[in-house]
Symmetry: C2
Subunit: 251 residues, 2 copies
Amino acid sequence: MHFTSEQRLDDGVLEREFTLGEIPGILWTPAPAPAPAPASAPAPLILISPPPLGLRKVYPRLAGRARYYAAEYGFAAATIELPGSGDRPRWAAAEQARADLRRVMEAGEPVGDEIIDALILPLVEKAVPEWQAALDALLALPEIGGPVGYEGGVISIGIRLAVVEPRIVAAGFFAGSLVPAAMFEEARQVTIPLHVLLQWDDEGNDRQAALDLFDAFGTQQKTLHANMGGHTGVPQFELDAGARFFARHLK
Amino acid sequence: MHFTSEQRLDDGVLEREFTLGEIPGILWTPAPAPAPAPASAPAPLILISPPPLGLRKVYPRLAGRARYYAAEYGFAAATIELPGSGDRPRWAAAEQARADLRRVMEAGEPVGDEIIDALILPLVEKAVPEWQAALDALLALPEIGGPVGYEGGVISIGIRLAVVEPRIVAAGFFAGSLVPAAMFEEARQVTIPLHVLLQWDDEGNDRQAALDLFDAFGTQQKTLHANMGGHTGVPQFELDAGARFFARHLK
């Protein structure tokens, strides 16, 4: 892990860009406690997974969340670019699946299982070991301790991580419906506390499929927050509600 | 409105029992600001409607919520006994409807519309003017100002109040399914912000009916918080989530 840039932001949060092999990422850490106070304890970490649109494009959204967590709750937060997003190399099968998805959605046709599987399953296979490698590197920094929370991004990546990565003790998901049947089955194996957001009139996600996925999660500590409006209309107050969820489980 | 008892509780909250005509009630108000501070401004008010089990029986639950609102958020909170509950006179048709409900639920039969209508509609007709009279009396006290929130109790009473009482600017409901079809229609006329709790495995409420009711509310500012477990299993952290909802709309 190599830091490539560093800036202290006006809320005191330190933002550092890094690379992990070929993968770019960003780390936000809270301002150190003022001089007379004892040195800050290692901060709990929240992994903020981006949507597959490229870090540069989603930077404002991600940085807004990360800085809030760091400045208001003393959490560290980090993200890395997903495989095939931003400047990272694409692969032919994913490009084909994306083109197929666009085609059927523009035609108003239902999205078939083959398209969802082709789009999501290879992405999960590639992304999960990368997030685990990032976790290794981040937890090796003296200013970051456990426990670890995970949120956002492609929900199937989060489901797999919640099942296979014991260092993640709580997760916040945005309920989506482009979830392969196989991942739906994995959801039953999730036993960590979950905080799930649902947009009631999400133009890109089927409401009943999202409710079915919430129902499928194996954990008994799961809460659904449903709000009105479309995919990008999550109310501002949900940022703090999510932070409080993590504060209950990471402190 | 006559106060019949008064005690200062150990969190500084003042608890006063009162009668409004024949109706018993309880008012909780926050501790006054300590001496050097300016006199406290009139507190916003939250009406906490009880379930129809009698105030004496549900006192611990209600007082716990009211004292939290008063001590942590500076809200006043008040409740009154529902018609036909506690020591208040019953009426024959309601007793018959309750007996019918018990019978079909014990037999595991579906609860028919006639039973729900007979149980709920007269209760709404009787209760709503009483809550409005209580609101008149409470808002006449110098220590209480607007705006007013409403929460809890029989959801149909809350729906009617949210539609007809303009002084109520936000409401917290516990999603139930024993809702007359007529009240379902009134739900479409609710335009104030709503905070709705749903217990996912509620033994006394049908999940789909509760989701349909949430969907029916006319307001665009509505949030559903669904948690696992049965009717009485609402997690402790939802108390503060509800308080924050009221803080956004009553301050």
